[in-house]
């Protein structure tokens, strides 16, 4: 087990190294921070001074190596724009993104799996056909458009939910959370729902195809022949067997929800890291972009590791072979 964890850590270190190098080169090619940050009235000398201050006057290789050196000391650098430590900046925004992503995933699983199992068991019912139609629509309609529609419906016409912002927050574990008070929660519902729609559709389809496959397995027929209740048949025999593909996709989805919530955060003016990333790319704030992507890489590696452990818990065949 320890061997496995160490191997995974080693792999992720290599991944982070490659990733950071790519981002470094990419940002260097695409834009010049001095040009973005310098004022109209800057002289050439002022520009040179700014470049020295930001550290971008040195060769790219030197910049990269000093960046790696700093990282090993736990220093991710200082934002060009905000002039604050990058890590502090990201951690400040992270809770907002995390809570909305987890909320969306929760909604996706709680709605998607039962809906999928139901559809798989009742293939000919009208409700199943409706579900199938709606999931296709949910897949195909662009995310930002769904967001705009949600705002129109709930904030403009019905006026039951706020359209944007984060609302009141509660201080907990030295971070601000909207989850723990009513006003914050009401602000969270629409963005979470917006993110959840795609997840619901995906989980419904996964659960449905899993159910259709598992229902015709010999062990399902045999379990029915034993005379156990239908409820037990579905809860223990069916659901346990369809969870493996669901766990895989949930892991990937969760990463994607956290990393790429940018569109939703923009539509709902939700102050998460997605919006921070977008702003930083615009202002070529390289330290923020690099640090963000490194954190996201680590997060994906961690999630995948958890998924692997869950596999073994769910399927004894993986555990014992």
């Amino acid at each position: 087990m320890l061997n496995f964890i160490l191997k995974r850590l080693g792999q992720s270190a290599v991944l982070v190294l490659i990733m950071s190098a790519l981002v470094f080169i990419g940002m260097y090619v695409v834009s010049d921070p001095v040009a973005v940050l310098a004022g109209e009235d800057f002289t050439d000398e002022d520009r040179a001074a700014l470049a020295r201050e930001l550290g971008v006057d040195r060769p790219l290789v030197v910049q990269y190596l000093s960046f790696l050196g700093n990282i090993s000391k736990g220093d991710f650098g200082t934002s060009f724009v905000y002039n604050r430590p990058v890590l502090e900046l990201i951690l400040e925004r992270l809770p907002a993104t995390l809570e909305v992503a987890f909320m969306a995933m929760f909604i996706g699983l709680v709605v998607g799996i039962p809906l999928g199992v139901y559809s798989g068991l009742n293939q000919k019912k009208p409700a199943t056909k409706l579900t199938s139609f709606l999931t296709t629509v949910g897949y195909s309609v662009p995310n930002f458009w769904q967001g705009v529609l949600l705002i129109m419906l709930f904030a403009v016409w019905l006026q039951v939910l706020p359209a944007s912002g984060r609302g009141d927050t509660t201080r907990l574990f030295s971070a601000d959370w909207s989850l723990f008070n009513l006003d914050g929660l009401s602000h969270m519902i629409l963005p979470a729902l917006n993110l959840a729609i795609y997840t619901i559709c995906l989980q419904t389809r996964l659960a449905r195809s899993g159910t259709q496959e598992v229902m015709y397995q010999d062990y399902m027929t045999f379990a029915r022949a034993k005379g156990i209740s239908r409820d037990r048949l579905i809860r223990r025999h069916l659901v346990r067997n369809i969870l493996i593909p669901i766990v895989t996709i949930t892991g990937l989805q969760l990463g994607a929800l956290i990393a790429f919530a940018t569109v939703t955060e923009t539509v709902f003016s939700w102050p998460g890291i997605g919006k921070l990333l977008l702003d930083s790319i615009h202002s070529s704030d390289r330290p923020v972009v690099v640090a963000y992507l490194i954190l996201i890489t680590l997060m994906f590696v961690t999630i995948n590791f958890i998924v692997d452990v869950l596999y073994a818990l769910l399927d004894p065949r993986i555990r014992y072979t």
């Binding site: 087990m1 061997n3 496995f4 191997k7 397995q217 010999d218 062990y219 027929t221 045999f222 379990a223 029915r224 022949a225 034993k226 005379g227 156990i228 209740s229 239908r230 037990r232 223990r236 025999h237 346990r240 067997n241 073994a312 769910l314 399927d315 004894p316 065949r317 555990r319 014992y320 072979t321």
Partner: protein, 568 residues
């Protein structure tokens, strides 16, 4: 019928709608009766509708099945037409069910304990630790060693035989009136099969439980059943007391069925079933093509193939959770095969018999220290492209599974000649010609060479597989359980075909099988294998009649005995 009648199937017709609007009749106007405590056999080949009867009794038919006429009564209850929630009183409680393959009948992600206890709790008043204790008690009765430990195991950690005993324990947990056993031993080795059936009989005799035994194995029927029903294409062919039906069948299909069963006690020239080679006029060209092969096939009295000190060790790699391990599949096997003879290799699954053949064909790399000499040349010395090609053409293979051994995206004809055209040995029109010739040789219509593999039955596909092996004009064919996936009459036809081909072409065969009777009918000499080692070898007349090794004797004793007198 008297009050003693437990199951009454009357004029049952079950249909399945098909894609083209037609209906398929799985069971056609079928009636049968089972008394309390009686063991009744339902026999027939695949597609005969045997399993449908069992499923109708338990309400387990597929959703689209239509019960057109008739019904199944369990005493006073019409069990074929219950609402889903009423089956709770029937399933498990009054009728237990045993599934064909024990490895797939148990849920892979739940423990054995949970799967037994849930059945007990669903059908008895026992709960919690009482149910668990009763589960241990049941496993003990079903002769599962270390029952308490097994409860915490998962199905894949146990052998097929043990899993089937666990399935038995589940089936008898509520002391039902009837057990429906659907091919309960087909997936098991012959020695395991006997012990498992003995257990089933003992368990059911104690409680006077009736059994409907659904099977294609006449030997099992002969040993177990009081009464037998023979089915074909969903229709009853004949029924009666077992002795009567098996020894003096009145219908031609039953006679053919009995005659197709390979016998262990003596070797017969051919099976008394139709269908061997193609018509005499049709096969001449193919025979001429095949006889045209280089005739350095072997010298009489000199071995064609010599194998010395052949071993194979399989290694597994170290993974995150487990260290590396190795498994010796074959250890130190030596033998000779002479031109024109058939050498059989028998053994139970996992004994290494297929691995030997695969090493000779070069599909597995044997361990160091071996020697394989074919036509006087050590195959390790074949280095030039030309030599290797000649060697491979001379050595061919017929595979076990006719469904996966043909390329589904090529026509039958392309499957047969593809290897030759791939080597540039044949142009397109010659390939078409040859494919047609070989199809006719193996008894298939020439024109069907243009059909895709899925349009053929299992037996026909295996004929195509034989035609493909023959296309190389081989001297030596390795037959890896070529008939184990086939019905008994189809098997008999195919074995006839192989005998005829061997007579005509003087082929040398290495014939691997788990079925002693098939080996007895096909082979001149036999090698008995156990756990990678040769237990005994010699002429079939000796080894399969008066064996020296206790293991061979055990295999023979475990075989269900059936010999059809009228076939002689």
């Amino acid at each position: 019928m008297t009050d003693n009648t437990l199951i009454k199937v009357e004029n049952l017709t079950i249909e399945y709608p098909m894609a083209d609007g037609e209906v398929f009749r799985a069971i056609d106007n079928f009636s049968m009766y089972v008394n309390r405590g009686q063991i009744v056999g339902v026999v027939g080949e695949s597609g005969a509708g045997k399993s449908t009867i069992g499923k109708a009794t338990l309400g387990l038919l597929d959703e689209n099945a239509i019960i057109d006429t008739g019904s199944v009564f369990l005493e006073e209850t019409m069990v074929s037409h219950l609402e889903e929630h009423h089956y709770a009183q029937v399933r498990g409680n009054r009728v237990g069910y045993i599934y064909q393959n024990p490895m797939t009948a148990l849920n892979p992600v739940l423990t054995i304990g949970e799967q037994i206890v849930e059945a007990i709790e669903a059908n008895t008043d026992l709960r919690g630790s009482d149910a668990r204790n009763y589960a241990i008690d049941l496993l003990t009765q079903a002769e599962v060693p270390l029952p308490e430990e097994r409860l915490d195991k998962y199905p894949h950690q146990l052998s097929g035989g043990l899993c089937q005993r666990i399935v038995f324990a589940i089936a008898i947990s509520a002391k039902p009136d009837l057990i429906i056993a659907d091919e309960p031993t087909t997936a098991l080795d012959v020695t395991v099969q006997k012990a498992v059936l003995d257990t089933l009989v003992r368990l059911t005799r104690q409680e006077n439980i009736a059994i409907i035994l659904i099977t294609h194995d006449m030997g099992v029927v002969a040993e177990m059943c009081d009464h037998v029903y023979v089915l074909r294409h969903g229709k009853l062919v004949e029924s009666g007391p077992t002795e009567e039906v098996l020894q003096r069948p009145t219908q031609s299909y039953s006679r053919e069925l009995m005659a197709a069963i390979p016998r262990i006690d003596h070797k017969i020239e051919r099976f008394a079933v139709p269908g061997g080679l193609g018509q005499a006029g049709d096969r001449e060209r193919a025979i001429a093509y095949l006889m045209d092969r280089k005739s350095d096939a072997g010298v009489e009295g000199q071995p064609l193939l010599q194998v010395r000190n052949l071993s194979k060790t399989f290694q597994t790699k170290a993974t995150a959770l487990k260290s590396a391990s190795s498994f010796k599949a074959v250890s130190d096997v030596s033998f000779d095969v002479f031109p024109g003879e058939t050498l059989g290799i028998v053994g139970e699954s996992g004994s290494g018999k297929s691995t030997i053949g695969r090493m000779i064909l070069g599909l597995h790399q044997p361990d160091e220290g071996h020697e394989i000499i074919y036509r006087g040349r050590n195959i390790a010395d074949l280095t030039s492209r030309q030599d290797k090609l000649e060697h491979r053409k001379s050595l061919q293979c017929i595979f076990q599974d006719p469904y996966s051994s043909l390329n589904p995206r090529m026509t039958a004809g392309e499957n047969i000649t593809y290897p030759l055209t791939a080597h540039g040995l044949l142009d397109r029109s010659a390939a078409r010609q040859l494919a047609g010739d070989l199809m006719e040789l193996v008894g298939l219509p020439r024109a069907s060479a243009r059909k895709m593999p899925h349009a053929f039955s299992g037996g026909e596909r295996q004929r195509i597989g034989i035609a493909r092996a023959l296309s190389f004009r081989p001297d030596f064919i390795f037959c890896d359980e070529p008939t184990s996936a086939l019905d008994v009459t189809v098997q008999a036809q195919l074995l006839n075909l192989m005998k005829d081909l061997q007579d005509q072409l003087g082929l040398t065969l290495l014939f691997v099988s788990h079925d002693l009777a098939v080996v007895r009918q096909m082979c001149d000499r036999v090698m008995v294998m156990k756990a990678g080692e040769v237990v005994e070898a010699g002429p079939c007349d000796k080894v399969l009649v008066t064996p020296d090794a206790p293991y061979t004797q055990g295999l023979l004793d475990a075989m269900p005995k059936f010999s059809f007198a009228a076939a002689q």
